[in-house]
C-alpha cells in the first residue's frame, strides 16, 4: 500500500495485468510513442503520460502504437478479442468516439447477441472524459450516457485512484466489452492504493459516506464534488449518504433503492449534458421502483444543455460544483414532505 496518483493506479493496473496474462495487449495513438522517430522510444505514454513505461517493459509487440485511425484500430481490437487476445485500446478522448462508434456499438457490443452467444469479446476501451481542463467543446465531453444506452457494453467510471486500479483490473479480466472512463483532471489525484493487484466487481455501488437525510448519487469526478457538498451540509446539520455507482452499466440500482428507502430523498449529480443522461436514468428507475419511499422530488445536478465552453469563466459555470450541489440538497430538504401511500 502506498500513495499513488490516478495516473499511476491506471498504469500499474495495466502493467500487472500484462505481466499476469500474455494475451493482454495495448494499442492506441502514442500509447508508447516515438514510432519511427529519431529520438526516444516510449516517448509519450499517451498525451498525459498514463501508459508511460509500458512499451519499454513489454515491447512493441504488446504495446502497439497506431496511426490516427480509430475505426481501424478499435475495430482491430474488437476482432482480436474475438480471436484470443484481450486488447486494451485507448480512445484518447471520448470526444473522438464519433469517428469509430460503429466498431464499438454495432460490432463489439453486438457480436455476442448477433452470434447467438457463440462468441465473446473481451475488449477494454480506455478513454478520457470530462470538463475542467480548458480543452473546449471537442475535448471535454462525458458521453458515457451514450455508451450506457447501448446493450452489450459495460461502462465503468472510477472516482478515485483506488477505484481506478481495482476496476481496471476487473475490466481487463472481464469477458465483455468494457468502456473505461478516466477523468482528465483527476490524473494527479492521490490516495493509498494497494501494490498488489485486486479487483472491484462491476455493479456494486460504493457507499462513500452514509447519512440519514438525503442520498446523493454521483458519477465519476462528481463523487468528489458531492463529498465536498456533503461536508459543507454536515456543518448545517444535513446528513448525506454519498453513493458512487462505479459502473453505470451494469447499474447497482438495488443499493440506490435501499438508500432512498432510508433517506426518502435523492439528488443525482452527473457531469454529462442533462438530456437522457445517467441522472435521468437513475431518477426514472427509482421513481418506478421506490416511489412510495420518496419524501421529496428527486433533483438532478447537471450542466446545461450546451457544448462545453472554452473560456475558464464559462467552463467553471458549466460544471456542477459543490456549492450548486449543496444548494440543491438544501432545496430538497426544504420541500414539503409527502406522506406514505394511502
Amino acid at each position: 500500500m502506498s500513495k499513488k496518483s490516478f495516473r499511476q493506479a491506471v498504469n500499474e493496473a495495466l502493467r500487472q495485468e500484462m505481466e499476469r496474462d500474455p494475451t493482454v495487449v495495448l494499442m492506441g495513438e502514442d500509447v508508447g510513442g516515438g514510432m519511427g522517430a529519431p529520438g526516444e522510444d516510449d516517448a509519450w505514454g499517451g498525451p498525459l503520460g498514463v501508459t508511460k513505461g509500458l512499451m519499454s517493459q513489454f515491447g512493441r509487440e504488446r504495446v502497439l502504437d497506431t496511426p490516427i485511425t480509430e475505426s481501424a484500430f478499435i475495430g482491430a481490437a474488437a476482432g482480436a478479442a474475438l480471436r484470443g487476445l484481450r486488447p486494451v485500446a485507448e480512445l484518447m478522448f471520448v470526444d473522438f468516439m464519433g469517428v469509430c462508434f460503429d466498431q464499438i456499438f454495432n460490432q463489439a457490443a453486438k457480436f455476442r447477441y448477433m452470434f447467438g452467444g457463440t462468441a465473446k469479446t473481451p475488449l477494454v476501451i480506455r478513454t478520457m472524459y470530462g470538463a475542467g481542463f480548458r480543452a473546449a467543446s471537442q475535448h471535454s465531453q462525458c458521453l458515457y450516457p451514450i455508451f450506457t444506452h447501448v446493450p452489450g457494453l459495460k461502462v465503468v467510471i472510477p472516482s478515485s485512484p483506488y477505484e481506478a486500479k481495482g476496476l481496471l483490473i476487473q475490466a481487463i479480466r472481464d469477458d465483455d466489452p468494457v468502456i473505461f472512463f478516466e477523468h482528465k483532471v483527476m490524473y494527479d489525484d492521490e490516495e493509498d492504493v494497494p501494490d498488489d493487484p485486486y479487483t472491484i466487481p462491476f455493479g456494486e455501488a460504493r457507499f462513500v459516506r452514509e447519512g440519514e437525510d438525503v442520498t446523493i448519487v454521483a458519477i465519476g469526478r462528481m463523487v468528489q464534488m458531492a463529498s465536498k457538498a456533503a461536508d459543507a451540509l454536515a456543518k448545517e446539520g444535513i446528513s448525506c449518504t454519498v453513493l458512487d455507482p462505479r459502473t453505470t452499466s451494469p447499474l447497482d440500482l438495488q443499493s440506490i433503492l435501499e438508500s432512498v428507502q432510508e433517506t426518502g430523498r435523492l439528488v443525482i449529480v452527473d457531469e454529462a449534458n442533462p438530456r437522457c443522461n445517467i441522472a435521468t436514468d437513475i431518477s426514472a428507475q427509482v421513481v418506478e421502483q421506490a416511489f412510495e419511499s420518496l419524501k421529496a422530488p428527486i433533483r438532478m445536478v447537471c450542466p446545461p444543455h450546451t457544448p462545453v465552453p472554452f473560456s475558464p469563466a464559462l467552463e467553471d459555470a458549466f460544471i456542477p460544483s459543490p456549492e450548486k450541489i449543496a444548494a440543491v440538497v438544501r432545496s430538497v430538504m426544504a420541500s414539503p414532505t409527502r406522506q406514505a401511500a394511502a
Binding site: P67, A76, G79, L82, Q107, M114, F115, D176
Partner: protein
C-alpha cells in the same frame, strides 16, 4: 494467363471447390424462391454469380485463418465451412440456426471456424480482419485473415484506414474487393473515383486485378498474397471483377441494369459453367462426378429448407440471453 498452380489442385480439391460453388448457388437460388414465397423475413442479399470469388479465396484457408464478410455473406460462410443447415435455419429465424435465430442473414457467424460474421455495416469488416490478423500474429498461430468488401465498401473510410493499419503493422491480411459492378443501384465505375489497385499501392501493398468469374484465376491470384501474409511480409490487395445475378436485396426491381444484362451474364460468364468446362475439357474431372455433386447438393439444400421450416422459433427467454457473458 495459364493458372498453373490452380491446375495443380488435386482431384479431391477440385471436387471440393465445385461442391462449394454449387452449394452456394443452390443455397441462393433456393433462398430467392423461399423469399419470394414469403417464407423468409427481412433483408436478404444474394451472392449467386460470385461463387468463384469466395471459393477461390477460401480454398487457401484453414480454420486457423479468418474471414470478415459483408451483408452479402452466404457465399463466404459456405466457403469458410459454416454448416449449411445451420445457416438456412438462421435465415429462417429458427432456434437451431447458427446464431440461434438472433442474427439472421446479415449476421451469420462461426467465430470458431474463423468466420467473423456477415456484417450489416458496409465497410464494417475490414478492421475486424485486421484484428484477427493481429491475434494470429501475436499468438503466432500462422493464421491469416481475409477482409471481403464490395465496390461500395471500398470507398468507406474504414477500408482505407484498415489498409493503412495493415501496412504499418505488417499484418497478414488480404483485402478482397468484390466489385460486382454495383452498390445498390450505383455503378462502381462511378463511385470509385480513381483506381482501386492504385489506391492499394498508395497504401503500401501490392494489388492485382482478377476476373472473378474464373475460379482458377482467383485461386491463382491469391497465391502470392497468401504466401506473403504467411511469411510475415504484410498485406495484399485483390480487385475482383464479378457480377451478381440478383438484385441488391430481394425485392429490388433492378431498373438500373441494362435490359437482358443478367441473362447475358448467366449465359456467358457463369463461374460454375466455366469451371465445369475447364475441368472436363482438361479431363481432370468427369461430368458424372459433377452431376453426382449436383444431386447431393440439391438434396442438402432441400433438406436444409425442410428442416428449417420444421424447426422451432427461439423460446421467449432467448430475447434476454447472450447480451453479456455476465451481467449482475
Amino acid at each position: 494467363m495459364e493458372p498453373s498452380r490452380a491446375l495443380q489442385l488435386n482431384r479431391e480439391e477440385l471436387l471440393r471447390a465445385y461442391r462449394q460453388m454449387r452449394t452456394i448457388r443452390e443455397f441462393e437460388e433456393r433462398v430467392h424462391t423461399e423469399f419470394s414465397s414469403g417464407a423468409i423475413p427481412g433483408f436478404v442479399h444474394l451472392y449467386a454469380g460470385e461463387e468463384a470469388v469466395a471459393v477461390g479465396v477460401c480454398m487457401h484457408l484453414t480454420e486457423r485463418d479468418c474471414i470478415a464478410s459483408t451483408h452479402r455473406g452466404h457465399g463466404h460462410c459456405i466457403a469458410k465451412g459454416c454448416d449449411v443447415k445451420g445457416m438456412m435455419a438462421e435465415i429462417f429465424g429458427r432456434a437451431d440456426g447458427l446464431c440461434g435465430g438472433k442474427g439472421g442473414s446479415m449476421h451469420i457467424a462461426d467465430v470458431a471456424k474463423g468466420m467473423l460474421g456477415a456484417n450489416g455495416i458496409v465497410g464494417g469488416g475490414a478492421p475486424l480482419a485486421c484484428g484477427a490478423a493481429l491475434a494470429a500474429k501475436t499468438l503466432k498461430t500462422g493464421g491469416v485473415a481475409v477482409a471481403f468488401g464490395g465496390d461500395g465498401a471500398s470507398n468507406q473510410g474504414t477500408t482505407a484506414e484498415s489498409m493503412n493499419l495493415a501496412t504499418v503493422w505488417k499484418l497478414p491480411v488480404i483485402f478482397v474487393l468484390e466489385d460486382n459492378g454495383y452498390a445498390e443501384s450505383t455503378a462502381s465505375s462511378w463511385s470509385i473515383g480513381g483506381d482501386a489497385v492504385k489506391r492499394a499501392e498508395g497504401f503500401g501493398m501490392p494489388g492485382v486485378r482478377v476476373d472473378g468469374h474464373d475460379f482458377f484465376a482467383v485461386y491463382e491470384a491469391m497465391h502470392d498474397p497468401i504466401a506473403r501474409a504467411r511469411a510475415g511480409e504484410g498485406p495484399s490487395f485483390l480487385h475482383v471483377k464479378v457480377n451478381r445475378y440478383y438484385g441488391h436485396f430481394e425485392g429490388d426491381a433492378q431498373t438500373y441494369r441494362a435490359p437482358g444484362e443478367v441473362q447475358r451474364l448467366r449465359a456467358e460468364m457463369d463461374c460454375i459453367e466455366r469451371f465445369r468446362k475447364r475441368v472436363t475439357e482438361a479431363k481432370v474431372l468427369e461430368e458424372k462426378d459433377l452431376a453426382a455433386i449436383d444431386r447431393e447438393v440439391l438434396e442438402l439444400i432441400e433438406e436444409s429448407v425442410r428442416a428449417a421450416k420444421a424447426a422451432a422459433y427461439p423460446p421467449p427467454p432467448a430475447l434476454l440471453s447472450d447480451v453479456y457473458v455476465s451481467y449482475p
